[in-house]
């Protein structure tokens, strides 16, 4: 036996110190490389997040100005008929009796949001007991005033180069001295849709639009994607056709997203006749876009289920469908959900295909349903990033923060669901 044993076997493993040192060195080296990679990724993420947060956090605060409003009953009833804007202007003028010329008055109004008439109306509708009283009310400042308070308007700059004139600055200083200026939490940002006026623009419309759109996408893509994956993986015969389908699905996953937008425009809007700019149209387009991703990830989740489980079930006399639904699917579910969440995250951040079906429109109402015109978070970010006003800069970053928070919430939900479904053995 030992006679014909090759010499290389007889000499046994090479356990020399040099060899071991070399092995340990490459091990260490690889580990450090890994730590370096993770470290740099985390660093970049941190830089990104700090830059966005530092630019965006100020958008969560808004400058407000206190004015005295006389809600004399003849003035404010019935609320539909009343000129609240006039009431607001009268109240503003009352603060500055010395401002006489029309030009100056107009400049004075510019310190305030041009929507304060609505604010007064809302105030009296909320609290009818104000009727007949004279009351100090906090109203929104204009975006320019807000920028001044937040330090984005330099007083040292030449008057013609800044958005507020010297006169406006003195009025502002007077208001501030009287304690009529305050920075308050910007509720508007979370309760309103888009607006031309930065101080009146909010993220809620886009957020609801995103939620509605993603619901359509998820409802369409998850059942269809999972069913397709199950069919392809568990039932379809493996032949040339299934290879062709597989290659096509992989190709589809790599198609640029704007192509799906063009498809949506041509087919969904022009042919099927879905309404433009709506969550339903956007949801279908995004569903088409994420379908390949979902199918591919669901298939790999199914592939990861050991074949012996299938054999055991089939051997017990379970039908193929019973085998899949009782044994394979529960085991593959966590993996499928991870895939679905990745697909949804991809859909959440998608802009290009939605531009093609008109979701880039400027929409001032919070959408109330799947067929209302809507926009979505990334498109809102795109719109605000494109807006010329300085005040939209912070809003853009704040919208990004909302988008990221939404993403994190989605991922947390996915992790929770996965924990719930995951088998402990």
């Amino acid at each position: 036996m030992t006679d014909n044993m090759p010499r290389s076997i007889q000499s046994g493993p090479d356990l020399s110190a040099a060899r071991i040192a070399r092995r340990n060195r490459s091990e260490r080296w690889f580990r450090q490389l890994g730590i370096l990679a993770i470290g740099s990724a985390l660093l970049m993420l941190a830089v990104l997040m700090t830059s966005i947060t530092s630019k965006g956090y100020s958008a969560f605060w808004q400058t407000q100005i206190a004015i005295n409003v006389n809600f004399a009953s003849s003035d404010v009833l019935p609320t539909e008929k009343v000129n609240f804007r006039g009431l607001a202007r009268r109240s503003i003028r009352a603060l500055f009796p010395d401002v006489k010329s029309r030009r100056d008055k107009r400049a004075l109004y510019k310190l305030f949001s041009n929507g304060i008439g609505y604010e007064l109306r809302d105030a009296i509708q909320r609290d009818p007991s104000l009727l007949g009283q004279s009351k100090r009310i906090w109203v929104k400042a204009s975006a320019d005033t807000d920028m001044l308070v937040k330090g984005f308007i330099e007083r040292a700059v030449k008057q013609s180069d800044r958005r507020l004139s010297d006169k406006q600055l003195t009025w502002f200083d007077r208001l501030e001295k009287d304690g009529r200026i305050a920075k308050r939490f910007n509720l508007t940002f979370f309760t309103q849709a888009d607006s031309r006026e930065p101080e009146q623009a909010g993220i809620l419309g886009a957020l609801i639009g995103s939620i509605l759109t993603l619901s359509v996408t998820l409802l369409l893509v998850f059942p269809v994607g999972v069913a397709a994956a199950i069919y392809l993986e568990e039932f379809a015969p493996k032949n040339r056709w299934s290879d062709v389908i597989e290659v096509n699905i992989n190709n589809l996953a790599a198609v640029p997203s704007i192509v799906f937008g063009l498809l949506g425009l041509a087919v969904l809007l022009n042919w099927v006749g879905l309404p433009r700019s709506t969550p339903i149209a956007g949801g279908v387009v995004l569903a088409l876009m994420t379908l390949p991703t979902i199918i591919i990830s669901s298939r790999s989740a199914l592939k990861a289920v050991p074949p012996s489980i299938r054999e055991a079930a089939i051997g017990m006399g379970a039908s193929p469908l019973q085998t899949v639904s009782h044994h394979v699917l529960p085991l593959a579910m966590p993996g499928m959900m991870t895939g679905a969440i990745i697909g949804m995250a991809q859909a959440l951040g998608e802009t290009a295909p939605l531009l093609m079906i008109g979701m880039v429109a400027f929409i001032v109402d919070v959408p109330g349903g799947f067929t209302d015109a809507a926009t979505v978070l990334p498109v809102q970010i795109f719109l605000w990033a494109d807006a010329p006003e300085r005040a939209f800069v912070e809003k853009t970053s704040a919208a990004i923060m909302v988008l990221v928070a939404f993403l994190i919430a989605m991922n947390l939900f996915a992790i929770l669901m996965r924990k719930k479904f995951e088998r402990r053995w």
């Binding site: 012996s308 054999e311 055991a312 089939i314 051997g315 017990m316 006399g317 039908s319 019973q322 088998r423």
Partner: protein
């Protein structure tokens, strides 16, 4: 060696005839003619013809890789699930061709149970492992029925005492041998007509093996049993017929007694005396 074998078999033989008395009208339960299997281009089995009599245990023996498992898997159409596997020839269960278009393979597998070579419990509780078959075949109506099924099956497989206090723990958490017995319990819980066992005792200690052999002997009254084994002694102890496979061929098949005392083929003799294999 040979003498020892003779002794073993003569004892077995006596029992065998007793059985004949018990079941005088033994009928052909499973009938295989000219069965051949190809995995792609590789011919794993050719021209196998065996009759499986009712209420008998038949052992399939032969060296590793000779096609025993392959043949076993033909009998309940498990080979359908393997890509590129083609089965030729004819197999009949109670006279009905199991490979005909009209036959439902799911029904065949419900009637012909199987214990696999590698234990494969479901990743569910021990209780659920046993109940799964009865549940999908609509065999029980109440929790009490299921409890009875679980207790009987596990007791028969010699596992009850070990697991009765942890029926809700995962079946995959058992030891290899326990898992194998769980799989046996799972298979008999649906009361199949034929049970195919692929080396059910390969992972078991002598005591558990003895229990399983006892079980097989009892089950013979109700079921027809086919067992693949690498232990000649086991084949001699528990089976009435033995089939010897070699390189994808059925070399010979007959009463266990005859195979071990006067093998008709020299390859059989060489194998049972330990010269090949």
């Amino acid at each position: 060696m040979k003498n020892e074998m003779n002794e073993l078999c003569s004892v077995e033989g006596a029992e065998y005839f007793e059985v004949e008395d018990r079941a005088p009208l033994a009928e052909v339960k499973l009938f295989a003619r000219d069965v051949g299997v190809k995995y792609g281009e590789n011919e794993a089995l050719k021209n196998v013809s065996i009759d499986f009599m009712e209420h008998q245990v038949i052992s399939l023996i032969g060296p590793s890789g000779c096609g025993k498992s392959t043949f076993l898997r033909c009998l309940n159409r498990m080979n359908d699930t393997i890509e590129g596997c083609r089965v030729t020839g004819e197999i009949r269960l109670d006279g009905k061709d199991i490979y005909s278009k009209a036959t439902d393979p799911v029904e065949i597998r419900a009637r012909i149970g199987m214990v696999f070579q590698k234990p494969n419990p479901f990743p569910k509780s021990i209780y659920e492992n046993i109940c799964y078959g009865p549940r999908i075949h609509g065999m029980a109506n109440s929790k009490a029925d299921y409890d009875d099924i679980v207790e009987w099956s596990l007791t028969s497989a010699g596992l009850w005492d070990e697991v009765k206090d942890r029926l809700n723990e995962p079946g995959t958490g058992l030891s290899g041998g326990q898992q194998q017995r769980l799989c046996i319990a799972r298979a008999i819980a649906v009361h199949p007509e034929v049970i195919l066992m692929d080396e059910p005792c390969s992972a078991l200690d002598p005591i558990a093996t003895a229990k399983i052999e006892e079980l097989i002997d009892e089950l013979r009254e109700r079921f027809t049993i086919t067992i693949v084994t690498h232990s000649m002694q086991q084949a001699a102890r528990i089976s009435q017929s033995t089939a010897f496979f070699h390189l994808g061929e059925l070399v010979e098949e007959g009463k266990t007694d005859d195979i071990f005392t006067k093998p008709g083929d020299e390859r059989t003799e060489a194998y049972i005396t330990g010269r090949i294999g």
